[in-house]
């Protein structure tokens, strides 16, 4: 630990500052920067350290900093967050400072926000069904506790409302509630405020921790905000035994912040100017979800990202998809049709669905019914396309039944509305009711006995 102050600042450019003549400085060390005439210090961390020169990435904007008169002090530790169970019900800014006017948090523990990789051997495979109350998720793309499942959205789509609905309704069979850790990254004030009010109205605020970084806040803050949120979540989950749902919105803004820092460092860019280590960096966020052997709590992550131009191959959704265990895709087509929540059932995927469904978790017919709904809906959509090209007259009875099924499926099964909270059994029953519209010979994925047992008799 050095208490020496350095004043030899050789350059300030973008979020980076170079300090000369340093001694005993370590990689990733926290730096406190005092600017003449300011009472509160700004903070940064060491990105590159040579014999006598340290490159510092600032967490606060560098606006107004001067090469002369600015003093840097290296703190001898990495960036840490004081965590406590008292954080529940509180609102913080993007760097973890109290932002709701309440008292300071008395930390029970101070933790490095970078986190550490969980030993794969120590992990336990996620297998508890989470009921979101949304049929298109619960039945078709089941979410399980400890999973990381992002929402892929686009500009102008209602991903915030979907996320709020999930946060409001999410529950597990044993009745335990989720604690929610929620972080906004560079979103507009309205959006951040929408979530805060949503949580307040639903009475969820006292079991939530909010980290708010809006578009007006410094870009570089965003790089640490998700890590603050996850550090809090890890503490609540693995020390305090809570089931934590982490929502991060919008990860595209996070990646852009990262790109800004990378370009300021003049690094060789990867695709679309994003740094080559974007995958590794994102994984250090997304992989902080899961279950651990011998620990009661879990972390389930729902990051939200907007795909530029709805392009799933853009680096941000692309690399995210390679790390997360599936994705919920929001469909512009369904949204235009007035379907809410507009979940693109076919484009969405939950890799861990099989761990969450079946007897004792949901119901014995779940898996077969899901396959049948997928198959019938796919057929219905194909027929719909065919009808556009060749006209409805060219369709036979089976085709027409599938066409009607696809319409009803979207309207009734997917389009349940923003405030309807369906149990998974209700959703399954609606699925069976819709299948009754189709001739039984085309139901190849469900067994005869299941039809007998579950399909409503007309």
């Amino acid at each position: 630990m050095s208490n020496k102050e350095y004043t030899d600042i050789s350059s300030i450019a973008g979020p980076l500052m170079v300090v000369e003549g340093v001694e005993g400085v370590k990689y990733e060390e926290l730096v406190e920067v005092n600017v003449t005439g300011e009472s509160a210090p700004r903070f940064g961390k060491v990105l590159d350290i040579s014999k006598d020169k340290a490159v510092v990435q600032m967490f606060a904007p560098t606006t107004g900093m001067t090469a002369e008169g600015t003093r840097a002090r290296f703190r001898g530790e990495t960036l840490k967050l004081g965590v406590s169970e008292d954080m529940l019900g509180r609102v913080f800014n993007g760097v973890g400072e109290v932002a709701d006017g309440g008292p300071e948090i008395v930390a029970e523990e101070r933790r490095d926000i970078a986190g550490e990789p969980i030993n794969p051997y120590s992990r336990e495979f996620p297998n508890d069904f989470i009921q979101t109350g949304i049929g298109s998720i619960d039945v078709m793309n089941t979410l399980v506790r400890g999973q990381k499942l992002p929402i892929f959205s686009g500009a102008g789509l209602p991903h915030s409302r979907l996320a709020a609905q999930i946060a409001r309704q999410a529950s597990v069979k044993d009745g335990s509630d989720f604690a929610i850790v929620f972080a906004t990254l560079g979103v507009s004030f309205e959006e951040a405020e929408y979530f805060r009010r949503e949580f307040e109205e639903a009475g969820a605020l006292e079991r939530s921790v909010l980290f708010i970084n809006t578009a007006a806040d410094p870009v570089v803050e965003r790089v640490s905000t998700p890590r603050m949120a996850l550090t809090t979540a890890e503490y609540l989950a693995f020390e305090k035994g809570k089931h934590v749902l982490v929502i991060l919105t919008d990860m595209t803004n996070y990646c852009e912040a990262l790109r800004e820092v990378s370009s300021a460092r003049k690094e060789v860019p990867g695709r679309r100017g994003y740094p080559g280590y974007l995958y590794t960096d994102l994984s250090t966020i997304y992989e902080r979800a899961g279950r651990i052997k011998g620990k009661q709590g879990t972390i389930t992550q729902i990051p939200i990202l907007t795909m530029p131009d709805d392009d799933k191959t853009h680096p941000v959704p692309d690399l995210t998809g390679y790390i997360t265990e599936g994705q919920f895709v929001i469909s512009r087509e369904l949204y235009r049709k007035g379907v809410f929540p507009p979940v693109d059932v076919q484009g969405s995927l939950s890799r861990l669905w099989s761990a969450g469904v079946g007897e004792g978790k949901t119901r014995d017919d779940h898996s077969a019914l899901k396959d049948q709904l997928f198959a019938s809906y796919a057929t219905g959509r194909e027929v719909r396309e065919l009808a556009v090209v060749l006209g409805e007259a060219s369709l036979d009875d089976t085709d027409r039944a599938h066409l009607k099924f696809a319409d009803e499926f979207e309207r009734e099964f997917v389009g349940q509305g923003e405030f309807e909270n369906r149990s998974v059994e209700e959703s399954l029953d609606i699925g069976w009711k819709l299948l009754a519209m189709l001739p039984q010979t085309s139901l190849k994925r469900v067994k005869k006995e299941q039809i007998e047992q579950y399909m409503p008799k007309s």
Binding site: Y27, S50, K51, P120, G290, G347
Partner: protein
């Protein structure tokens, strides 16, 4: 790895750190160091490897998190290059990228997070193994000769071989229970010097293990996957790649092969992938029964797990660690299959290190040596005559997943891989979207080994296997052309013979290629049953084609014969033998031929 071995040497302090950027450290005082030598960085003894030398200065990639390390910290040399420990006890282990056993890491750290600077021996150094000598005192042995055997698991007899570069007359050989470091034999060289042999050997990970010679591959690896085995097979000792966008089913396909293929040893490298996926393998494999031996799959498996959030340099090393272990079992004379998921993450690790070394980048920021490193890696696959005087053969099959950004195969990693692999399973996002699994695109995928297997297929499966396969593939080809026409002018415009092609192609797709990896019966189909199913479908086409030209039909009469509906169920007839399929084919034949009479 080096741990115990270096401890006995004692590490020597060599120099000091000059600069730290991420996983890359530069240090001085290295004029005596070797390239790829293992070093320990700072008082925390973080594991690192020298990857560049400039006079007194070395660039070191560090296999652990470097936060808190800074200029002036010490660097210790070990004198050894990066190596893996090879001995009984490897099987059933799960390692990180530099062969530290994750189970031990958890026990030593007492924590579920991976802590830094922990030393953990790759195999249990205390455990006693029953060593049965095969060689006798006085025998003349050369490198690769088997000295004795150890029953490593219920499935695998571990052969203790004379290490490469050794040889001589067996001066003494023991029989009994020993741990891996104890002497089990001594060899007397021609110059009367004596070498002590234990069951533990080391081998540097970046060098291929020596072999006598490579052999031309002529036998397929049987995986139980219908589209893999029949349409796009891979050789025992072959190299294949699975590129595909996320969600297309790379991991499920690879795990399917790992579970059911008829290799005796599986090395599964999770390289920069999901933590939960590795946990799934760890949970599942001990309970899954190998269809070829009846024992739990874990008993033939070694896992390397360097998940995406673990240090990036160790990810770079993980594929070499895995393949060196795989070669070691190949040298015992086993068929080994290695899965690397995903090689794109390995390439990205190379790119990250290269960027920090400030090397001149090649395409998309990847280093210029990307393609040569990729080629070197896949070239370590092969069926070989091993070292040793008994002329054993062993094979190493390498299957690499590739994760091209946006599914675009024109990117450098896919291209570098396609040049050196001979089986290409092209996973298709559209098929995955339609929930057709495995989403192996039947038009784009290929296997250059197929010709090598013709003799094998004719002899082992059926005289007409090659023709049936060719007919089925050509039907799929024709289907794609016909579908374009249908899209333009509608189904009515097609002749009955074309509609028959569409119908049969649909059967091939839905009732043969479609395979449910989550259904325990459907997930594995032996090759003779694959042939039975496909032959039945092709029979429907061949007889149907002969009939269709003889009379005017309503096309629906073809699909109304009883056997038509039964085709969909063929894959579930687990107990069917060759005769049952023949009976069914006869039924198809007679039902379709009877149609001619009815109409006329």
């Amino acid at each position: 790895m080096t741990n115990t071995d270096t401890a006995s040497h004692g590490d020597t302090k060599a120099g000091e750190i000059l600069r730290v950027t991420g996983p890359l450290v530069r240090a001085n005082g290295m004029h005596e160091a070797k390239l790829y030598e293992v070093v320990k960085v700072s008082e925390e003894k973080l594991l690192g490897e020298i990857i560049e030398l400039h006079g007194d200065e070395a660039a070191i990639q560090v296999y652990e998190e470097t936060a808190g390390i800074g200029p002036g910290d010490a660097v210790y040399r070990t004198g050894r290059t990066m190596s893996v420990a090879l001995a009984p006890g490897l099987l059933e282990s799960i390692y990180d990228g530099v062969q530290r056993p994750l189970k031990t890491l958890q026990e030593v750290a007492g924590d579920h997070y991976i802590k830094r600077g922990i030393e953990a021996s790759p195999v249990d150094m205390e455990k006693k193994w029953k060593f049965n000598p095969v060689a006798k005192e006085g025998d003349k042995v050369q490198e690769g000769d088997v000295l004795g055997e150890v029953q490593e698991t219920a499935l695998i007899m571990h052969k203790i071989m004379v290490p490469p570069g050794e040889g001589g007359r067996v001066a003494s050989i023991k029989n009994g229970d020993f741990n891996v470091t104890e002497e089990i034999a001594t060899l007397k060289h021609d110059d009367d010097s004596v070498a002590s042999i234990s069951m533990l050997q080391y081998w540097p990970i970046r060098a291929a293990r020596p072999k006598h010679s490579k052999i031309f591959p002529t036998e397929p690896l049987r995986t139980g996957g219908r589209s893999v085995d029949t349409f796009f097979p891979i050789a025992k000792g072959g190299a294949g790649c699975i590129p595909g966008p996320f969600g297309a089913g790379k991991t499920v396909t690879q795990q399917g092969i790992a579970k059911f293929c008829d290799a005796e040893i599986i090395v599964y490298i999770g390289c920069g992938e999901r933590g939960n996926e590795m946990t799934e393998v760890l949970d599942e494999f001990p309970h899954l029964i190998d269809p070829n031996s009846g024992e739990p799959l874990m008993k033939r498996t070694i896992l390397i797990a360097n998940t995406s959030n673990m240090p990036v340099a160790a990810r770079e090393a993980s594929v070499y660690t895995g393949i060196t272990i795989a070669e070691y079992y190949r040298d015992m004379g086993y068929n080994v299959a290695l899965m690397a998921d995903s090689t794109s993450r390995w390439a990205e690790a190379m790119r990250e290190i290269s960027g920090r070394l400030e090397e001149m980048p090649g395409e998309e920021g990847y280093p210029a040596y990307l393609s040569s490193r990729t080629a070197e890696f896949y070239e370590r696959a092969g069926i070989v005559k091993t070292l040793g005087s008994d002329g054993r053969t062993g094979s190493l099959t390498v299957i690499g997943a590739v994760s091209p950004p946006g599914g675009d195969l024109s990117e450098p990693v896919s291209q570098a891989t396609l040049r050196v692999t001979k089986t290409f399973w092209s996973l298709d996002a559209d098929l995955a979207y339609k929930k057709h699994f495995p989403s192996i695109n039947w038009l784009n995928s290929y296997s250059l080994y197929a010709q090598n297997f013709e003799d094998f297929w004719r002899k082992e499966i059926a005289e007409d296997f090659v023709e049936i396969r060719a007919t089925a593939m050509s039907l799929l080809e024709k289907e794609s052309k016909l579908l374009e026409i249908v899209r333009l002018v509608g189904m009515e415009s097609l002749s009955n013979s074309d509609r028959l092609i569409l119908e049969v192609a649909r059967m091939i797709r839905e009732d043969f290629l479609f395979q449910n990896a989550f259904d325990k019966d459907d997930a594995y189909t032996p090759l003779d049953r694959q042939y039975g199913i496909l032959k039945s479908i092709v029979t429907y086409f061949e007889v149907g084609q002969a009939v269709v030209n003889q009379a005017e039909f309503e096309f629906a009469t073809f699909t109304s014969v009883p056997s038509f509906a039964e085709v969909a169920d063929l894959k579930n007839k687990l107990e069917w033998t060759k005769d049952d399929y023949q009976t069914f084919q006869e039924k198809v034949r007679s039902e379709l031929t009877a149609l001619v009479g009815k109409v006329a």
